[in-house]
Symmetry: C2
């Protein structure tokens, strides 16, 4: 254990894919807690597409990460020094810890929570964390599948998409179709997660395959991808379809060059609803959803997979996995084995 702590600060705003020049590794003294604070040794970081969005200097649902500031991101760690009754030494804590070895959490802020006993930290960041909650509330609260509905998910082999399809199955969807990149991911969806079918967008015509696989149209489309995949789905809607807009990973690396969506008129033809959501709006309902998810995982109805990248210094590469599609399941950085 050294006496210094690494942190990755945003050194430059990226254009396109992120590379090493975007962050600067700084060595700083391990912080001391002020009254009401605790210092957390960060163990795992949640790597999410939205982090790429926060690196741009454009308004969003949260302010951009400032240049020179630690890269924002969720994580889990262990309290190593405390001046707070809420965060005792040894407790596991999750929250917006940031891309660094040590984070200061403050009991005056809502940001960090003590993790209950018995939950694997990596699962806490994926299926039981923001990722799983995104799947749960986006599908059930925004998509609102009815018994027998055709549910289609893009980014289906990703952390959120893979959970969406399984919840749809549990909730009585008639047909669950995933859109993913490559035969391995597609096989995983069908063979292990119980999707009825998968479309390999890298090899197949998504619009045409959706028409074949969903002859009655799509009732619920859960979109993680945007762009041409969303366009193809809009051309295959059932009447009164619901499109839950979760993310648009196809455009995050070059927002200005994103092609427009030419067929929103289909929303009129089919009387459909397209609605964006943010899981942070559901914080007060996380507990109910987590309890249900614990049950499903325990019963084997929901399978989750984590893709762990070792080393804080590899966080940028881990983020890029999401955009090159090289991950299956939730990308997590194991900050250090120290």
């Amino acid at each position: 254990m050294t006496s210094t702590s690494r942190r990755l600060v945003l050194a430059a705003r990226p254009t396109g894919m992120v590379d090493a020049s975007v962050v600067e590794v700084q060595e700083v003294p391990i912080p001391e807690p002020e009254p009401g604070q605790a210092v957390v040794r960060v163990r795992y970081l949640s790597i999410d597409p939205t982090i790429r969005g926060w690196m741009d200097d454009r308004p969003g649902y949260l302010p951009p990460i400032e240049l020179g500031a630690v890269v924002r991101g969720g994580g889990i760690g262990e309290v190593v020094a405390s001046a707070s009754d809420r965060y005792p030494v040894g407790a596991s804590v999750f929250g917006m810890l940031g891309w660094q070895d040590h984070a200061v959490v403050d009991e005056g802020e809502a940001g960090a929570q003590v993790l209950p006993e018995g939950i694997e930290p990596t699962a806490a960041l994926s299926v039981f964390g923001v990722t799983g909650m995104t799947a749960y509330f986006g599908l059930l609260d925004v998509g609102r599948p009815q018994e027998g509905d055709t549910v289609v998910v893009s980014g289906a082999a990703g952390a959120t998409g893979s959970i969406v399809g399984q919840i749809a199955r549990i909730k009585g969807a008639g047909l669950v179709v995933g859109i993913a990149g490559g035969p391995e991911k597609c096989a995983w969806l069908v063979d292990e997660l119980g999707f009825d079918a998968a479309i390999d967008y890298k090899a197949e015509d998504v619009r045409g395959r959706l028409a074949e696989l969903c002859p009655d149209g799509i009732d619920v489309f859960f979109d993680n991808v945007g762009g041409e995949i969303l366009e193809a789905a809009l051309d295959n809607l059932a009447l009164r379809a619901r499109i839950a807009l979760c993310g648009a990973i196809s455009i995050y690396n070059d927002r200005d060059a994103a092609p427009g969506l030419p067929n929103t008129f289909e929303l009129i033809n089919t009387r459909s609803r397209m609605e964006g959501f943010l899981v942070l709006d559901y914080l007060d309902r996380f507990l109910e959803a987590q309890l249900e998810m614990f049950g499903w995982v325990a019963e084997g109805k929901v399978t989750h997979r984590e893709h762990v990248v070792e080393g804080l210094e590899n966080a940028v590469d881990a983020l890029n996995l999401l955009f090159t599609g090289q991950n299956t399941g939730k990308v997590i950085v194991a900050v250090s084995s120290a």
Copy 2:
């Protein structure tokens, strides 16, 4: 009164704006009613943007008008011959009568209704008809304005848009803004219909003006126009905004060349909902809405204007008024003075 009847049939699919070559005027014998039928002398035709859409050979919420078929459209007329108890001679009837002097209505079909006494036929086609119902249900059922909301309407000087703004006012909107073309229309909205402000999209930067006029963002956007106006609205949404997609008049004449909507990601940033609707889905609730609308018109709370074009032979020109923006209020064709 002659013994023949004119009808306008679709002779060719239009490209771009409709011109005379798209329809053929045919003279046919006045039809005789079969049992259960009546023959209606058509007096007024409702001219709606959606008719242009039906002329294209593309799937929509109704099938395309077939080549050689009478142009589809709503209208009002008088029963001149009847073999049906439902439609007595002399009764006023409204429904999908088509672009012709005489229409056959059949009591076995839901299409035509007897007009109650005391309603002006032109008002029956506008504020009390499909147009007014579109405004009513689109705003209240899809847009769902809350007390104090900022409500913005595009195509605001049109038949539907002008009613939308007035209903928003009645229902307690905090701010009502219309987008229309030209200073006369804008003045009409503010001076006569009680809109708080109007944006002249032909002379002003819509995105910038929306930002100025709606500093807290748009809560409800009722869209008749699509394209760049919808794009500008998406960049000015409040949190949890609702976009009621009614039509997209900016694209009907050239659907394939319509620019895509580049900023649907704003729906995620603001957790907003964009939803298409069709007034035909609300037929079973028309009566409740018409009763409320009768009251508002009687109390002077809703002003409506009709733009009457004389002569069935001018129906094509009347349709184009909608796309050149030369109408204020509802475009109606007075089929003949005979």
